[in-house]
Amino acid sequence: MGQCVRHPMSWEELEEYQALTFLTRNEILCIHDTFCKLCPRGKYYKEATLTMDQISSLPALRVNPFRDRICRVFSHDDVFSFEDVLGMASVFSAQACPSLKIEYAFRIYADINENGFIDEDDLKCIIQRLLNTTNVGDELLNNLTKHILGESDMDNDHMLSFSEFEHAMSKSPDFMNSFRINCWDL
């Protein structure tokens, strides 16, 4: 793990990032530091890319059960450029607007078959990841899935579309509090 060329960010770039993301200046500089520490030696930070494994091993994501989904959603062609990392941090920042968070939360959770919906298999996978084990009782899984769909699925197609997910999450104030990552230090 070498350090890339310590090229300080120019003023205009910093301002542009501040204008286009929900991050404060200190947060952007902190992410810049972290990125520079991780990227290979001698490379300019704007051209360097990080692998999904490197991002998954950041302290912010290391214990998260959905870290592979997060990396999948925010990366392009399975690598992270600096702007991809900034975009990810912006979505998880405290000041981000609810619609953005719900949008990306849906993409993270709508998982296995990547069909654009959260169906029963996705829900079972989410619950297993939350409990950190695949050895979850079938009764618990089926009951939970049935109840979730019974409450949030409004058009009776046994799946949660984006609108239904958005409706369920916008009713919950805990969603904004929990879907937040503050610190991207190494």
């Binding site: 990032y17 204008a19 998260n64 618990l140 919950s172 929990s178």
Partner: protein, 784 residues
Amino acid sequence: MARSPSFILPIPEGRESPSQDLSPYDENVVHDSFHQLIQEQSQRVEADSLELQERPPRDKGRGSQSLRGPQEYCSATLQILANMPSRTIGRSRGAIISQYYNQTVRLRRKNSRPLLREMSRSAQPSIRQYDLELDLTPREEEEKRSLLVKELQGLTITQRNHMLRDMPLSLTEKRCLRQDSCIHRGRQRYHQGSQTQLYCCSHLKYHCIIAFRSLWYGILSGLHALKPWRCHLKQISGQFGSSVLSYFLFLKTLVSFNVLLLSLLLPFIVAVQVAFPPTSEFPSPHSQGLELFTGAGRFTHTVMYYGYYSNFTLNQPCSSHQNSDHCPPRAVHLPYNMPLAYLFTIGISFFITCITLVYSMSRSFGKSYQVGSTLGVHAITVFCSWDYRVTQRWASLQHDNIRTQLKELLAEWQLKQHPRSVCGRLRQMTVLLLVWLLSLGSALGCAIAVYSFSEFMHENREIRTQSEKLQEASLLALPLIVCIINLVVPYLYNVLASWEQHDSPVLEVYVAICRNLILKMVILGLLCYHWMGRKVRSLEDQCWETFVGQELYRFMVMDFIFTLVDTLFGELVWRLITERLKRDRKPEFDVARNVLELIYGQTLTWLGVLFSPLLPAIQLLKLLFLFYIKKISLMANCQAPRKPWRASHMTTIFITLLCFPSFLGAAIFLSYAIWQVRPSRTCGPFRTLNTMYEAGKVWIRHLEEASPSVTWFTWIHQYLVENTFFIFLVSAVLLAVIYFNIQVVKGQRKVICLLKEQISNEGEDKIFLINKLHSLYEKRATTS
């Protein structure tokens, strides 16, 4: 909730689907094939005079509608399914771009005046007008993008940045969009302002705007960095989650309330009195070395207590009847009516605190309770239970917490489905009743103990002829007893609570809070009666207000000492014991009990602010110390609580408890002291008056005499403040507004039910149409 027909909706493709031409970008192909299909079918209907199939009769279960599995659908059907708008939301770039194009258009239209030709259509808005996606002329993504860029140019810079920030696209794409929309604008400006003079001026203006914006971003970052305790709070939330964080955030809120109080009291009362110290009429008592605890001794005749404050107008210009010896030369002659200032400052600071409390309570209530939000508990549990901020070793504890939560939910459902037998319920009711009787009885017992002890101390205060030191130390006895009760009895309640079995664990937390609150409020009420009743009567010729202020100071200091003791013994020693016994469970941080202690301390401050204007400063110091002590103890000794916790609901409850029993009680006590009790004759700013409130009345009479043109003021005072009719009118209006809001909420609930039913009907229609579409394609495939 839903009468669900038994079908499975198949689902199509993702990136691994066999047919690669199912990309949502191929909309023209889809539209063409659909269009073709409809034409063919209509021709066939005319040619064959096909009898329309009778719709299957709608029976109860509606089980006649069923879908086949995905592999049974032909590719054309799957292609159409892939392009349904509900599936492209949130997925394809094209859909996102067109969605934000529509938003931008709407935003721009909001800014400018609506065109006349659009007004005529407003009676029957058509979908085509509003949605690019359903436009029958299919557009390529590039075209959509250029349309979006054009719309973005029409916005102001701030609006454009906001719009770009909210878009769920990658940062690189946002930068490109921003550059494109800026370039066009720059070019336009260049074309328009081609004269060199004009160009120079706009160049200067451009640089000024840039400089201003950089300054603004710098200020925002600076403000963000100034937030107190930011790093500490991040550390706590990373290790322990949002439940423990809510305690520290509540502490921060209390700090801000005390700063608010101090910011009014210090300049208007304390600073003025310090600048014009009164001639001391009493000899200061000897110091016994216990001043820090008792607040008596050397502190008695200082700015700290009510007795020090003068009852006349300070800095008055020398009038003729005053003795020339008492007329020191002053630079500025600004008369300052001390009694009036004292009364008004306290009144106004309480009023502002009340408004701030009610505002924050209503905001927090609005955030955590929404119409219909009591349903949908389970989706929330699954999707919101993982706190993404938790980064440290407590992650495994979070998994356990979630497992416990889900198991408890499951138990709740099972109980609902198989409710307990009558016998079981009866048994539960008796246990519940017994435990409540015990806890209320213990609260009553403690109250009686405090009452008799205070009476005993009151009777025996003069009898002691021993050393003065002991006499002063005996003042600490009552606070000591009250603090011991406040420390020990909640543990007793915890033990009692383990007997009852509540259906939901969240209810247990509420019940525990309720019991602790009843205990504390009963004891505080008793103490207020003791002070206002007995002490006022017995200390009539002395300064009873200073005494009450000193009592409250003692209570606060004792409370702080006992909190330290509780932290030390409850957490540190417990951890050492569990380590010695080699058990894995560290002590838990009991958020509810700690928050109630904070509320209790703040109530003491509010009760005492009339009698000791510097009490908020002491409370502020206490809170600052408490933050660091609790944080250190938390990091070293504790683990996160295992009980389920809805952080936003609990924050609302804490603020409500701060407002209703705590602030309201203090306000009632203060109103009684101001309106009904006779101030002592020998000290304080109100010594010559019958009640403290008379100071205001005296001033109004002076105003009347001084300038008769100010009669409207006295009229307001007479008819609005003192007359009760006005208050009745205001209450009636308030009740009407509340009733109206309740009816609106009821109506909204009904509308939500109707809309949900409509959505489920639409879902069934969709399934029906998909099946029909499939059968038509199949028929075409078999016939051709």
